[in-house]
């Protein structure tokens, strides 16, 4: 299956960079999944608003 790597991954002589889209066996895809290589990076959380400041403004 074709997979998209979100992190660099080394397998034997292959050294894929993040963003590579190799076609690999189901077994290797499962290993990659386990290593978290196929998981999209979580978007950074928006900075929390200071509630106290907001209440003062009201």
């Amino acid at each position: 299956m074709k997979v998209k790597l979100y992190k660099a991954y080394k397998h034997g002589t292959k050294h894929w960079k993040a963003g590579a889209e190799p076609t690999v066996t189901n077994e290797l895809a499962a290993k990659m999944k386990q290593a978290g290589v196929l998981d999209k990076p979580k978007p950074k959380a928006a900075p929390k608003k200071d509630e106290d400041n907001n209440s003062e403004q009201e």
Partner: protein, 135 residues
């Protein structure tokens, strides 16, 4: 009947698809040992002998291929003379796969005039050949 489109069939070297393939094949055979005797009533009698398997893959050369198994990778493996894990498979659940350790025994790169550049690689299995149902 569950015939399928052979485009799905590929050869995977060390879990990575051989790139730009157009034809893939696996050939398995068993040599026979003749055990015919005078008591065979005039019929040949055989025993199963040496089992062999070979894989071949033909396709188009892409020198920019850096993700899947390229002709450069195949050449490196041939020159290294070491066995690699080979799998002939669709990677579709419930289909059959054939895998073995194998040595790249030939690699031919060719190009004519006004034609595509092509490659042809052959692998000979060493040791056990495994048939499996894809999970």
């Amino acid at each position: 009947m569950a015939v399928f489109n052979a485009t799905l069939l590929g050869v995977y070297v060390e879990d990575t698809l051989v790139a730009a393939a157009q034809d893939v094949s696996v050939s398995m055979s068993v040599e026979t040992i003749d055990v015919t005797t005078k008591e065979s009533s005039g019929y040949r009698e055989l025993l199963g002998g040496l089992r062999t398997a070979s894989f071949s893959v033909n396709g188009l050369i892409d020198y920019t291929e850096a993700t899947n198994e390229s002709t450069a990778d195949l050449a490196t493996r041939l020159l290294a003379r070491t066995a690699v894990t080979l799998k002939f498979s669709t990677e579709v659940s419930a289909d059959q796969s054939i895998s073995a350790e194998a040595i790249c025994t030939s690699l031919e790169l060719s190009g004519g005039t006004e034609d595509t550049a092509t490659y042809s690689a052959t692998f000979e299995a060493t040791g056990t050949v495994t048939l499996a149902t894809i999970a």
